[in-house]
């Protein structure tokens, strides 16, 4: 059966794809948005810690499932093993309408100006492909603003002297600090730091026909029962559908980009819910499937004209796989600090995001999301019992008396940290799976040690009776903040797409997710991915209206 030709297909209904679908359908293009998962609701999963996107031991509540999906991870000794979505090494985001934006903690960071020109700021870094982006913060600023207002952010940037300049304030006031944040604010200020409320893609007041947040502890990792958390699933995707120009096809797994005899990409092949392969032709193909699945799709799209996959002429697709090492410190207190006002993370500093002596980049530090009961079983000072009577007593004594200060460190991209497709392992549909390999750059550990040291000082200043650091930065990166695998650039020999996300060697294939990120900032990347959705959507729409159909 052949499907009716459309102007654009968008593969992946997440932070990037949802925005692009909305921009294009509002501009009058006919759009089909493909999603391998389905709508998820709070009803189906509620607050089940063990089956969530936070702790996935019994499964990913927002997908994908363990039965049909797998990946391959290359071990240190060169051997490899299969990993399931519920295992950490899978490096999952989600598989549902809205993707990670349904269950994320919803921090709404803008990157800083320096994050777009890391090489100019810090110079060459041996062993890293650190580079400047082909666009600046100023180029993207209006797109950040659009994301903040259309999707909905609560915050107040004014106490943060390091924030990148903004033309418009946030549309909603910030969330009030919880008890631990009030305590940290005092000590941070005593130390001469500049604390401020974390900007959140969550409604602090009713906004866009959705209610205000009620501050549950199970937020990060879970769908919101009230729809007070703002993702693409409850903002731009419904907007796209309401134009009448956009169709959403759920349970559809895209396997390949099709190419005609002359080498022009013509659409995609996908498996529908019944498992039947279908073809969908389109003038424009937008891939927004995440920094693991986007390169997988490009690499699986081999043809006479693209013998090593689309966009891969110079072997850059899947390279520079990065994410964020989380690094920080824990503190124990001798009085109750936990007031159960969720989701916990409310205060941050950006004092250490850049210009730290001897460190390249840096990161924010924030108080952590609520440590739920099972997750807290892994939080113990080094050398503590991990089971038995003392472990149980600790759980009881310190569940309400622990504070974590933590942040994502800006990682140095490494060429050999990469996403490939596995030569033999296939998924349920017979599509070759993602094969992950590589290591972080040694500089990342230095950054992590630096930031963890600062976190521990803050906790000591706040009066913690016991503190210890948890230092990240080793092993393969990726995770929910995965990025970098189809970087944008002006030189086609050392990048995959141009500054608008268009793959250099094609007229009409775009990437619109964190794969584009040349570097990943020292911030949670969701708002930046959304901003890029606007950036790319705006470019395609403008060109389309001028008569450029990317032929």
């Amino acid at each position: 059966m052949s499907n009716k030709h459309v102007n654009a297909v968008v593969v992946g209904a997440g932070a990037g794809g949802g925005v692009v679908a909305k921009e294009l359908s509002e501009a009058g293009l006919s759009v089909i948005l493909f999603e391998r998962g389905d709508w998820v609701s709070f009803d189906a999963h509620d607050t089940d810690e063990l089956n969530s996107q936070r702790t996935t031991v019994l499964g990913n509540a927002c997908g994908p499932d363990d039965d049909r999906y797998r990946r391959v991870l290359v071990n240190d000794d060169g051997s490899s093993h299969i990993v399931l979505p519920s295992e950490n090494d899978y490096n999952n985001v989600a598989a549902c309408v809205g993707s990670g934006t349904v269950s994320y903690g919803a921090m709404a960071w803008r990157f800083m100006s320096e994050d777009f020109h890391m090489k100019t700021t810090y110079g060459n870094v041996k062993g890293s492909t650190l580079d400047d982006w082909p666009i600046t913060y100023e180029d993207l600023e209006h797109c950040y603003e659009k994301a903040e207002w259309e999707i909905g952010v609560s915050g107040d940037a004014s106490p943060n002297p390091f924030a990148a300049p903004r033309k418009k304030p946030y549309p909603m006031p910030p969330f009030a600090y919880n008890k631990e944040a009030m305590m940290l604010e005092t000590s941070m200020k005593r130390m001469g730091l500049h604390p401020f409320p974390i900007p959140m893609l969550r409604n602090s007041v009713p906004y866009n026909q959705r209610p205000a947040c009620v501050r549950r502890r199970s937020c990060c990792g879970f769908a919101c029962p009230l729809n007070a958390k703002s993702g693409t699933h409850n903002t731009v995707i419904p907007s796209a559908l309401s134009t009448g120009n956009c169709e959403l096809r759920v349970h559809c797994v895209v396997s390949e980009i099709t190419v005609n005899e002359s080498g022009r990409p013509t659409g995609i092949l996908y498996f529908n819910q019944e498992g039947n392969q279908q073809e969908q032709t389109a003038d424009i193909i937008v891939i927004s499937a995440s920094a693991t699945e986007t390169p997988r799709l490009l690499l699986n799209s081999k043809s006479k004209h693209f013998p090593t996959g689309i966009g891969n002429r110079y072997d850059w697709v899947g390279r520079n796989f990065q994410g964020h090492a989380y690094t920080g410190a824990f503190g124990l207190f001798e009085e109750d600090i936990f007031d159960d006002i969720g989701p916990g993370a409310t205060i941050a500093i950006s004092d250490f995001s850049h210009h730290n002596t001897g460190i390249i980049g840096g990161g924010i530090l924030a108080n952590e999301f609520t440590r739920l009961p099972y997750l807290f079983t892994g939080i113990r000072p080094p050398g503590s019992p991990t089971w038995g009577k003392a472990h149980k007593e600790f759980q009881r004594k310190y569940f309400r008396r622990n504070v974590q200060v933590v942040g994502p460190i800006q990682e140095m991209p490494v060429f050999d940290s990469r996403v490939q497709v596995d030569p033999s392992i296939k998924d349920f549909w017979g599509i070759p799976v993602v094969r992950l390999s590589g290591h972080r750059h040694p500089k990342d550990v230095e950054g992590c040690e630096f930031l963890s040291g600062k976190a521990e000082m803050i906790l000591k200043e706040a009066g913690a009776s016991t503190t210890w650091q948890s230092v990240g930065g080793k092993g393969l990166s990726g995770g929910q903040h995965q990025a970098g695998t189809c970087r944008m650039g002006n030189d086609e020999r050392i990048s995959v797409t141009d500054r608008y996300g268009r793959i250099h060697e094609t007229p009409n294939v775009f990437v619109a997710d964190a794969s584009l990120h040349v570097t990943n900032g020292g911030f949670n990347p969701a708002l930046t991915i959304m901003a890029f959705g606007y950036w790319i959507g705006e470019y395609i729409s403008k060109e389309w209206k001028k008569g450029n159909h990317f032929a």
Binding site: W39, F42, D43, L58, S218, P238, P373, T377
Partner: protein, 193 residues
């Protein structure tokens, strides 16, 4: 839009029901269980009687009874049994092999099965498993530490996870750390039927 409307409507009904205090969720009843084919005649999903009792004893060591109930009374072995027929199917063979290895070693060393050992002997045995100091072919290639880690982490999940999965009976761990079980907004829902 159709799906979106449907979703909103369901959530609306749920929230309405909750605020009226009429919706009930069963702690034990709902739990049996997504993705399982149903229990055997024994009432169990994967473990035999003997295996179940061994897991029960191990779970009690991981979470001992003190002023709060421990692993045995909070049904951690049920949690593990149920998960071994569900999301943890991939660990079935490891459990079978590991349980047999524990019993073999105990019979050889102490002439009795694990559950009948004195408390302190059990503790010491598990410490040796954890640190990999047990001798014997059963435990080579790091198997003892790996199997211990499964027993440890699965026991903690059974105790600190939601009762819907078969463990944490009566919300014991949530009560112990003073947490409302947040099935609903702003309501304490212990003891719901």
């Amino acid at each position: 839009m159709k799906n979106q409307n449907k979703l909103s409507r369901r959530e609306f009904i749920k929230i309405t029901a909750l605020s009226a205090g009429t919706l009930t969720i069963s702690a034990g009843g709902l739990s049996l269980i997504e993705g399982c084919s149903g229990p055997h005649k024994s009432g169990r999903f994967f473990l035999s009687d003997d295996e179940y009792h061994l897991i029960e004893s191990v779970a009690e060591q991981i979470i001992p009874t003190d002023e709060w109930p421990g692993g045995k009374d909070t049904r951690i072995a049920d949690f593990i049994d149920i998960q071994l027929a569900g999301p943890y199917r991939r660990f079935q063979q490891v459990y079978r092999k590991g349980i047999a290895a524990i019993e073999d070693t105990c019979l050889n060393k102490f002439h009795t099965i694990f559950k009948d050992l004195a408390w302190d002997v059990q503790t010491e045995f598990l410490q040796e498993m954890e640190t990999g100091t047990l001798s014997g072919d059963n435990w080579k290639d790091g198997f003892s530490g790996k199997f211990f880690e499964l027993l440890r982490s699965h026991s903690l999940q059974g105790f600190y996870g939601s009762p819907r999965h078969g463990g944490n009976k009566d919300f014991t761990s949530y009560k112990m750390i003073g947490l409302d079980e947040v099935q609903t907004l702003g309501q304490n829902r212990y003891g719901i039927q």
